[in-house]
Symmetry: C2
Subunit: 346 residues, 2 copies
DNA sequence: AGCGTGACGGCAAGCGCTTTCTACGTAGCG
DNA sequence: CGCTACGTAGAAAGCGCTTGCCGTCACGCT
C-alpha cells in the first residue's frame, strides 16, 4: 500500500542502496542515475519513512524545545527564533528538522517526562528555555538526564536558564537588569517600592529579586519583607498581588513587577484603586514584550533580546555556531525608560 | 553502548518479546514476570528507542500542530490547548505524545514542507490552525497532502480554519463576529469607519472584511474602498495602516482592526495624531487576546474561545471526542464591549 | 600491454522493536 | 482420566532504511 524505497528502486531500475544515496546525497551517484531515481520518486509520490531511516542511521531530525508556557509570548518569541535556526549545518534542502515544542507548564515532572520522551526519539538536539525550579532533587535529576542525552549525542543548550555543568548555557542577566530597574526608580526619588515577585521557587524570580534588593541595599533603603508579594507570572497574579501590596502599604510610590505581563495586571489594580500612573505610582516590568510599548503609559522595563538569544541557541544546538567560551554566555538586558515611571509625588 | 530491549530481556531472564509486552501493556504478562522486567528496566536505565518502535509498529506518538506564528499569543494559546489534550485515548501513563509545533510563518510552501515532514514521521495526527491562504493551487496541494495523510491513518483536524473536504474542521465565525462589531459601532452612531485589514490573500482577512461590509450594507452606509487598508497582522502594520487611513480621511470616527494586535498599533497611531480614544475615535479589535482587557482604554473586541476550540481539536485529533456532525463545527465569537468604543463626537 | 586507480553501484547485514504464530503447562470439564 | 481451554512466554519474521564492503568497468599511467 505505501510506497517504499524498494518500490522506487524497482521503478528506477537500481538497487535500494542507490536510491537511499540519491536521497541522502552523501555519496557519488552518476547524474543520469540520479535523475532516473528522482523521477521515480516523483512519479510514485514517495515519502521517506522517518522512523525507519532514523533507526537505520541512528540519528533523527527532531529537535526538542522545552518551554514553560507556549501561550506566553516570552516563550513564543524564543521558540520561534530557535525554530527558525534549526536547519542542518550544510543548509542543504533535505536538512529539514522538526521542532518539538514541549509545554512543561513549569512542572518539574513534566520537564523530566518530556526529556525522556525526547531521549526516546533520539532527538538531535534539545533547547531548554526559561528559568528552572529551585529544587535540589529535581536539579540533579535534570542534570542526570541532560548528561545522558549528551552522551547519546544530543546537543543540549540552555536558553535563558541558569548555567548547568551538563550543557551550554545562554543566561539572561536577570539580576543585573532588575538592579538597574530599581536603581532607576530610586534615582527618580522613590523610597517605598513594592515588589510583585514571580513564583517562589524559580531561579528567575530569585535572581530578579536579588537584583532589586541589591539596588535597595546600595541606596541604603531598608528592605521591608511586607513589600514583596509572590504570585504567578500572569496578569491576574499581578493584579491581586498589587492589591495586597496596596493593602499592606497604601503609601508606596512604585511597583516593581516580575515581568511585563504581571506589570499590566499591576497597572490595572492601581487604576482600580484610583491611582494614576506614573503620577501617583510608578510601575516597571521586565522582558520588554511587544505589548509593553503599547501599554498606556508605555512600560518602563528591561529589554531581553529573546529573539536574538533564541536564534543563537538554535544555531549552537545545530552546530552552526561556536558555543561561547566556557560554555556559558551572559546575555545582558537593556533598561528601557518609558512613560510608566516618573518622580514620586513628593 | 546504549541499552536495548534485548539487554533488558537478558537481565530479566525473559525474551525480548516479553519485555516489549510489559512495556506496551497490551498483552497478559504474569505479575511476577512483569515486576522482574520492570526492575531490569529500572536498573539498566533503559529508554525505549522511539524510531525502532515506530517502525515496527507502524505508528508514532508524534502529533503535528501547524501555526502561522508561534510568537503570536493567538496561536500560542491554541497550541497550548491542543497540546494539553493530546494524550492517548486510554489516558494511560505510557500514552504520552509529543507535539511538533511547526511555524509556517504563513507561507504556503513551508506549510506543505511541514506537512511532508509530518507525513515522513508518520504522525499520529495533525492539527492545522489559523486562516489559510486563498490560492487555488496551494489549496489543492494542501488538500491532496491532507488526503494522503488521512489515507495513511493520520487524523487531520482544522482549528480556526475554513472547512475542507479532507478534514474535520472547527471554524471560527469570523464573518459573524466582524459583522457584530461593526454593527455595534454603527449602533453608536458611527458612519465613517476605517478598516485596517490583515494580509490581502488570507481567508481570515476576507471573512472579517465581509462581515464588516455586510454590516455597512445593512445600515445603508456606502463602503468607500479608500477606507480599507491592508497590512500584516502585527502591531506595526496597524500603526502604519492607521496613519494612512487618517491621511485619506481625517474625519473618520472609528477604526476597525483586523485583530487585537493590530488594534493596539492603531491606538498608538491615533494617539500619535493627538486623537483620544474613544472620544475622538473609537477602536475595535478581534480575538480578545489577554492583553485586550489591559489596553487603555480596554479594547472592545470579539472573544474567540481559542483555548476551548484548541482543546476540542486536540481531543478530536486523538479520537477522544466525537467529531461534529458533518465534520464541521462553527465556533461563534462573543462581542465584548469595553471602553475603546463610544458615540462619535457628533 | 599491464595494471593501478577512481568512480559508481549492488549485496547484505543489520538498526531495535513489534507481533504472529507456536509451545507449554496447568486448570477446568465432561 | 483424557481433552479442551486458557494464560503465559518464546521464536522468528519482518518493519524500511543505511552503509560497509566488495565488484565492475573505464580510464590513464608506465
Amino acid at each position: 500500500m505505501t510506497v517504499t524505497l524498494a518500490d522506487v528502486a524497482a521503478r528506477a531500475q537500481v538497487s535500494p542502496a542507490t536510491v537511499s544515496r540519491v536521497l541522502n546525497g552523501n555519496y557519488p551517484v552518476a547524474t543520469a542515475t540520479r535523475e532516473r531515481v528522482l523521477r521515480a520518486v516523483d512519479e510514485l509520490d514517495y515519502v521517506l519513512n522517518g522512523p525507519a531511516s532514523a533507526l537505520a542511521a541512528a540519528t533523527s531530525d527532531l529537535v526538542g524545545i522545552l518551554v514553560n508556557d507556549i501561550a506566553d509570548p516570552f516563550f513564543g518569541i524564543m521558540a520561534s527564533a530557535i525554530q527558525s535556526e534549526i536547519r542542518g549545518p550544510g543548509g542543504r534542502a533535505g536538512g529539514e528538522r522538526l521542532a518539538v515544542v514541549c509545554n512543561t507548564g513549569g512542572s518539574p515532572e513534566r520537564e523530566l517526562t518530556y526529556l525522556t520522551l525526547l531521549q526516546r526519539q533520539r532527538a538531535a538536539a534539545v533547547v531548554l528555555t526559561g528559568g528552572a525550579v529551585e529544587d535540589c532533587a529535581h536539579k540533579e535529576a535534570v542534570g542526570a538526564k541532560l548528561s545522558k542525552l549528551a552522551a547519546a549525542g544530543t546537543r543540549v543548550v540552555l536558553c535563558g536558564r541558569p548555567p548547568a555543568p551538563e550543557a551550554i548555557a545562554l543566561t539572561f542577566d536577570n539580576r543585573g537588569g532588575a538592579q538597574r530597574l530599581t536603581e532607576h526608580l530610586i534615582g527618580l526619588g522613590h523610597r517605598r517600592l513594592g515588589y510583585v515577585a514571580g513564583p517562589e521557587e524559580r531561579t528567575t524570580t530569585r535572581h530578579r529579586l536579588e537584583g532589586h534588593r541589591a539596588a535597595l541595599a546600595a541606596a541604603g533603603i531598608e528592605d521591608d519583607p511586607r513589600l514583596t508579594v509572590h504570585g504567578g507570572y500572569d496578569r491576574r497574579a499581578g493584579y491581586e498581588a498589587t492589591l495586597e501590596l496596596l493593602r499592606r502599604e497604601p503609601s508606596l510610590t512604585a511597583v516593581v513587577a516580575a515581568n511585563d505581563t504581571v506589570a499590566l495586571g499591576a497597572c490595572a489594580a492601581l487604576r482600580a484603586f484610583g491611582l494614576r500612573i506614573p503620577e501617583d505610582v510608578s510601575v516597571v516590568g521586565f522582558d520588554d514584550l511587544p505589548f509593553a510599548i503599547d501599554a498606556v503609559p508605555a512600560l518602563t522595563t528591561v529589554r531581553l533580546p529573546l529573539a536574538e538569544a533564541g536564534a543563537r541557541a538554535g544555531r549552537i544546538a545545530m552546530g552552526r555556531e561556536e558555543p561561547p567560551p566556557g560554555g556559558i554566555a551572559m546575555v545582558p538586558g537593556e533598561l528601557m525608560v518609558r512613560g510608566s515611571t516618573g518622580a514620586p509625588r513628593d
